[in-house]
């Protein structure tokens, strides 16, 4: 295993850690392995010297303050579920209409190809619950902002 593979595997094993804390460990091992290599050891050997990955991760996790462990993000979960429900409520009727129109056009065989999309557009406009669309847009945007902010925090 080379250094990059080792660091990648370690990162996966440390996913229970908060992002900032995990980054510090990765940087630390990056530095230490580079230092060992510079002392005249091959990269493979330097990685091997670190011992068993499973054990390293275990040791780090047991020595970590619980405050630095990742907690379940209930706010995020609620936002994602709400977005999913609202989005499916928006898309489902459109999808249904599209399928229905396609069926009709193929079975009757009179309506031209261009009528399919056009009819969806018109049908969409007639029976559109705008409140639902606006609510969906708002919730989706809030969800995106929430996760972008979370990503850049710490």
């Amino acid at each position: 295993m080379n250094k990059q593979e080792f660091l990648k595997a370690l990162k996966r094993k440390l996913r229970k850690l908060k992002r900032g804390e995990r980054k510090k460990y990765i940087e630390y091992y990056d530095e230490i392995i580079s230092d060992i290599v510079e002392s005249g050891v091959s990269e493979e050997e330097a990685v091997k010297k670190q011992g068993d990955l499973e054990q390293i991760a275990e040791e780090i996790l047991t020595n970590t303050n619980p405050a630095n462990l990742r907690s379940r993000d209930w706010g995020g979960i609620v936002l994602v579920v709400a977005s999913a429900i609202l989005l499916s409520r928006c898309i489902a009727p459109l999808l249904f209409k599209m399928l229905y129109d396609v069926n009709v056009s193929t079975s009757i065989g009179i309506i031209g190809g261009a009528d399919g999309p056009t009819s969806i557009l018109i049908a969409g406009k007639i029976g559109t619950p705008w409140g639902l669309y606006i609510a969906t847009a708002v919730v989706v945007i809030i969800t995106i902002i929430y996760f972008v902010k979370k990503h850049f925090r710490k």
Binding site: K24, I32, D35, I36, I56, I60, N63
Partner: protein
């Protein structure tokens, strides 16, 4: 050495390793390992703990086109070492007691 005992001592070993001059991970391990068993994966949690406790501080410098993190001892860290020095006589007595050296006196 016993796990618990080693854990307690290692913190002081790390502080001692940066008492005279700032040091970095690899060098600390080189300096400490002749005296007590220490591995890369034991050192860093100790450094993090000491940092959170305000006994050491860290800063990054560039070395060979990569980042090297140096650790420096704070006043609190120095005080910890001094406290430990004060406990030394007590510790020696305990060690002697455990070893049973005084029984025949």
């Amino acid at each position: 050495m016993d796990r618990q005992l080693r854990k307690g001592l290692l913190e002081f070993c790390v502080l001692a390793a940066i008492r005279a001059e700032d040091s970095y991970g690899y060098k600390m391990i080189e300096d400490i390992s002749p005296y007590i068993d220490i591995s890369e994966s034991t050192l860093y949690p100790i450094l993090r703990r000491l940092e959170v406790a305000g006994k050491v501080k860290s800063y990054n410098t560039e070395y060979n086109n990569r980042i090297r993190k140096y650790f420096t001892i704070t006043e609190d860290g120095k005080n910890s070492l001094q406290e430990f020095e004060k406990d030394r006589m007590e510790l020696l007595k305990v060690l002697e007691f455990i070893a049973g050296g005084r029984q025949h006196e």
